[in-house]
Symmetry: C2
Subunit: 261 residues, 2 copies
């Protein structure tokens, strides 16, 4: 994973340094660095390796994916949305740079993500498949749909809660995993999508169990009680590991998922 | 132009009707319909016709272009940006649907625009060129850059003003014109980009001359005086028509520009 992170950060740094406008450049730098765990790009690159492909084919797409994730956090933190003053241990972007620039840095990262997909060292056929996958995962049928469903507070049933998680969380894991399948030229994209589904649920339920004492929103522990939420988490975790083991072997992705979940 | 508008609206309607989430669907419908003059997509389709290509090849890209234009208006109208309560004779999207949904409808339109590019009935090579062009025109080096430069009020010189116009206005005309060149498989993309440059300037200066009495911002008439602004407009208009006549003949685009400018 060290070499993935190193190469990824080189591409991210080169992107930021090449932004001509100083406000946009410093806003993008603040949002992208030091960043979080880089889980989504690492998952894409590890999946490529497990599929027997050169991970370097996926560096630009992995950065595009991280840009989409980062833009979604920036817009989600804005006052009309979650109104979060902090992100990753520092003031959120709009607190540090103002709301107008935060909206625009988000817009720029989302737009420029598609430039990264277009730059991947792949056949045009595969780039078009990636662009389509990314737009579907992130747009009105994917991540944004999850954000819109999440705007409505108040009561929600388990089905609604899981729709939100599948949009807000699992959709970008689908871009990571199915994207790696496309880059590697593989056919078993449905299996990779299924892995993203269970992993996304497990990831979010684990998070919501950990935040149960501090968060004030409807989550699996709230709806099911802690015991049942833990059972549901374990079930999603086991499904994730079983599918990963079956389609990718007990290799990098398997161990990454084991460590995260 | 009637048939372009008809076919364009069919694609736009089908897109909106297929959005599963009702809030996103009605927000997108409100933003896209009845819409404005559809100038950018019409320019793309007319350019295709003048280049001897089937305009129907460009219907999805033309809609993607209009989606990008529409998202930029939605985000630009938000309170932290221009704080506009009205757009095209009705309440702006955030006044009608709330700020959170307005941010998300904008994000969805921008993201889904790239899905429209990927759906164009073109070779993968040309689709990748279109995606790259669109991301450059709309992103941190194009339209968003213009928006960021425009955030800074206060004094600005003519050079700064024209940088803003080239980003906020000319960049999407470049996507219309150069995009048509890519779709038609033509080589003279630099000429089409030059046409977008002069047309974008002429279009904005004309607008600023018309709004001189009502607007309270630095524009060509403010910086140059009305007489010189009119001269500058005429110069940009003539350059636009001359280039259009030279590369496209006195055909649809020429007459469209004559009518608009």
């Amino acid at each position: 994973m060290e070499k993935y992170l190193h190469d990824f950060n080189e591409i991210a740094k080169a992107y930021v340094n090449a932004i001509e406008n100083a406000d946009l450049r410093e806003g993008a730098r603040y949002a992208l660095f030091p960043g979080g765990k880089r889980l989504r790009p690492l998952l894409m690159l590890a999946t490529l390796a497990d599929l027997g492909a050169d991970y370097r084919l996926g560096l630009y797409p992995a950065f595009g994916l991280e840009m989409i994730h980062t833009y979604s956090l920036i817009h989600d933190d804005l006052p009309p949305m979650d109104d979060d003053d902090h992100r990753r241990g520092k003031p959120s972007l709009h607190r540090a740079f103002g709301e107008a620039l935060a909206i625009l840095v988000g817009d720029a990262l989302l737009t420029d993500a598609f430039l990264m997909f277009s730059k991947a060292p792949l056949s045009p056929e595969r780039i078009v498949l990636l662009v389509e996958l990314a737009a579907r995962a992130a747009g009105s049928g994917g991540m944004v749909r999850g954000q819109v469903l999440d705007l409505k507070n108040g009561d929600r049933c388990l089905g609604e809660l899981e729709e939100i998680i599948l949009g807000k969380t699992a959709a970008l894991f689908r871009l990571a995993l199915v994207g790696a399948g496309i880059i590697a030229g593989r056919e078993e994209l449905d299996d990779l999508a299924e892995l993203a589904h269970w992993f996304g649920l497990a990831f979010q339920i684990k998070d919501d169990i950990a935040d149960f004492e501090t968060e004030n929103k409807i989550t699996h522990p709230v709806l099911l009680g802690m015991e049942e939420a833990r059972n549901k988490f374990r079930e999603c975790r086991e499904k994730s590991l079983r599918i990963a083991g079956r389609i990718l072997g007990k290799n990098e992705v398997y161990h990454l998922l084991e460590r995260i979940l």
